[in-house]
């Protein structure tokens, strides 16, 4: 067992944490896919409402994306602006 310093341990664990944080994107992908699929379905059923549906879809996608963006911000913080690093 070779020794390592506390800073090295924190760096290694932060990198792992950044990777684990991005797992949140699974949910975002499913959510956005569901959203887009339903929009396609609605457009096929009522093609004249396409403009409104597209606008609503973009808002929905933006709101769904928020969770993933928070995960991304946390991952970026862990990698580049780590508050735990001594």
């Amino acid at each position: 067992m070779t020794g390592f310093t506390g800073a090295e341990l924190i760096a290694a664990m932060s990198s792992l944490g950044a990777g684990i944080a991005m797992v949140a994107m699974i949910g975002v992908g499913i959510g956005i896919g569901f959203n887009a699929g339903k929009t396609v379905e609605s457009t096929a059923r009522q093609p004249e409402a396409q403009g409104t549906l597209l606008k609503l879809m973009l808002i929905g996608v933006a709101l769904t994306e928020t969770a993933g963006i928070f995960a991304l911000v946390i991952a970026i913080m862990l990698l580049f602006a780590n508050p735990l690093m001594p």
């Binding site: 808002i59 970026i76 580049f80």
Partner: protein
């Protein structure tokens, strides 16, 4: 890898970063364009005047479609927002750092939107009505509603920041990877950087900025419009 915006110069303890300088430059360019487009106006528009009229007409139509008749007085703010955020995020095309890849740029803009939403909500509903809405459906929901309202500017700022900043990181990695690849082939010139990153440039520096600026503006409009509706009961 350097990720933060570089400090160009500082006066005393006040640092002027790339974000501030590019923000000023973009504002000045937009001002000059607006000035040139409105001098010597013709009945049949052409050139800069035509472009300006297209943009202004598009914004008025979009805001009116989203917010209804009341939206007319909000159009100048929304138009400024979409143009500033759009051009600010597209700076990556010029090999500069996009100003929206900095929370110090998006945060204040989101805060302005937040203040506008609540100011207009109080004005339209009255102080009593505003508090009644915040305390719906039950009185003990008031602090929870306040928390969910306060999350709005944070999510708004983080959304555009996260998207554009992720684009910056990906573009930096791609360009340095292509440089390494062309050096590995023994060429002093990073010739792989010619043409290959174009689709990524198109996605991260043109499509994403337009989409994110549109979403920022659209969410502000939607929340102002819903904040102004007076409950019937």
């Amino acid at each position: 890898m350097e990720v933060g915006p570089r400090i160009i110069f500082s006066i005393g303890s006040v640092n002027f970063t790339e974000t501030v300088i590019f923000g000023w430059i973009i504002s000045i360019i937009i001002l000059i364009f607006a000035f040139c487009a409105t001098r010597n106006m013709q009945r049949v528009p052409k050139g800069a005047q035509l472009l300006g009229e297209l943009l202004v007409g598009f914004m008025y139509k979009m805001v009116k479609d989203t917010m209804g008749e009341i939206g007319e007085k909000f159009t100048p703010y929304m138009g400024t927002l979409i143009v500033f955020l759009g051009f600010g995020s597209m700076l990556g095309l010029l090999e500069l750092r996009p100003i929206t890849a900095d929370l110090n740029c998006t945060g204040p803009l989101a805060l302005i939107s937040f203040i506008m939403i609540h100011y207009n909500s109080i004005r339209a509903r009255g102080f009593i009505g505003y508090n009644k809405h915040m305390a719906s459906p039950y009185l003990w929901m008031w602090p929870l509603n306040l928390m969910s309202e306060c999350m709005f500017p944070i999510t708004l700022a983080c959304r555009i920041f996260g998207n554009i900043f992720a684009g910056v990181i990906v573009m930096t990695l791609v360009y340095s990877g292509l440089e390494t690849a062309s050096h590995a082939l023994g060429s002093p010139i990073p010739f792989f950087q010619i043409g290959f990153p174009l689709p990524l440039n198109f996605w991260f520096d043109m499509f994403e900025p337009i989409l994110q600026a549109y979403i920022f503006t659209m969410l502000t409009m939607v929340f102002i419009a819903t904040g102004r509706t007076v409950d019937e009961d």
